[in-house]
Symmetry: C2
């Protein structure tokens, strides 16, 4: 299950990937992705800190992707803002019990499958689908 | 990614499944699962409301599972407390745009795979694993 923060980060990154020709201001990005601008600012900070997004100040400044959409996966974006929680140790947290019980081992296996599913989708895959806009078409509205 | 609430619900239900002979008080269940008792009380309310757990008042009262562990899956428990969020409509929420873009369609596909993975594991599967306690062995400690 994906957090709101991760979903917002993906909207922003997909938008940047679909508009590679110039940097996009935070304001324009917030409008295009329909994310509250304060919230988006925090998300973008995390993406910059993780090295996925470049932020240029000044005139013609704004956000742009550091890597090509072929080189980025959904998992990269999620890991930058809110990684899938894996269960490495007993969540009951008492010392001396390091093996996971069947419940927590099963849940961690599924969390691993979730990571794999996210890692299998590159941003480029989300741009190439024929006939459908990256992000819902409505995201173009602020530019119309 | 699983919420804390869902994980707590699973601890409780697995514990009840592993101790079918008598009803378990909220206090004993909180101790066994290491979940704060106020938090657990809310989780148990949801499980009772969903018809997964029976709550008997009075002496010898407490919580017990309504169904056999063979008839319950992890997904049933998650759905009772905090279902996997599916994306049925464009999250950008403007009217007239009902088709999902590639990003949100991909995320919803993965959410569906997550539901399938949870649905494939019955509570009984979590009890039968040889040599490991259901829930980490430490959960037995309060009874020692």
């Amino acid at each position: 299950m994906m957090s709101r923060t991760a979903e917002y980060a993906l909207r922003a990154v997909v938008w940047l990937a679909a508009h590679p020709d110039s940097a996009v201001t935070g304001q324009a990005l917030a409008a295009a992705t329909q994310v509250p601008s304060d919230y988006l600012a925090k998300v973008m900070q995390s993406l910059v800190r993780a090295g996925l997004v470049d932020a240029q100040r000044g005139k013609n400044g704004g956000f742009s992707l550091v890597s090509a959409p072929e080189a980025l996966t959904i998992l990269d974006v999620i890991n930058a803002v809110e990684p899938v929680r894996r269960i490495r140790n007993c969540p009951l947290g008492l010392p001396g019990h390091e093996a996971l019980c069947p419940l927590h081992r099963s849940l961690d296996n599924i969390a691993g499958q979730l990571e794999d599913a996210y890692a299998a989708i590159r941003l480029a895959d989300l741009l190439r689908t024929a006939g459908v806009q990256p992000l819902c078409a409505v995201a173009e509205a602020p530019h119309a």
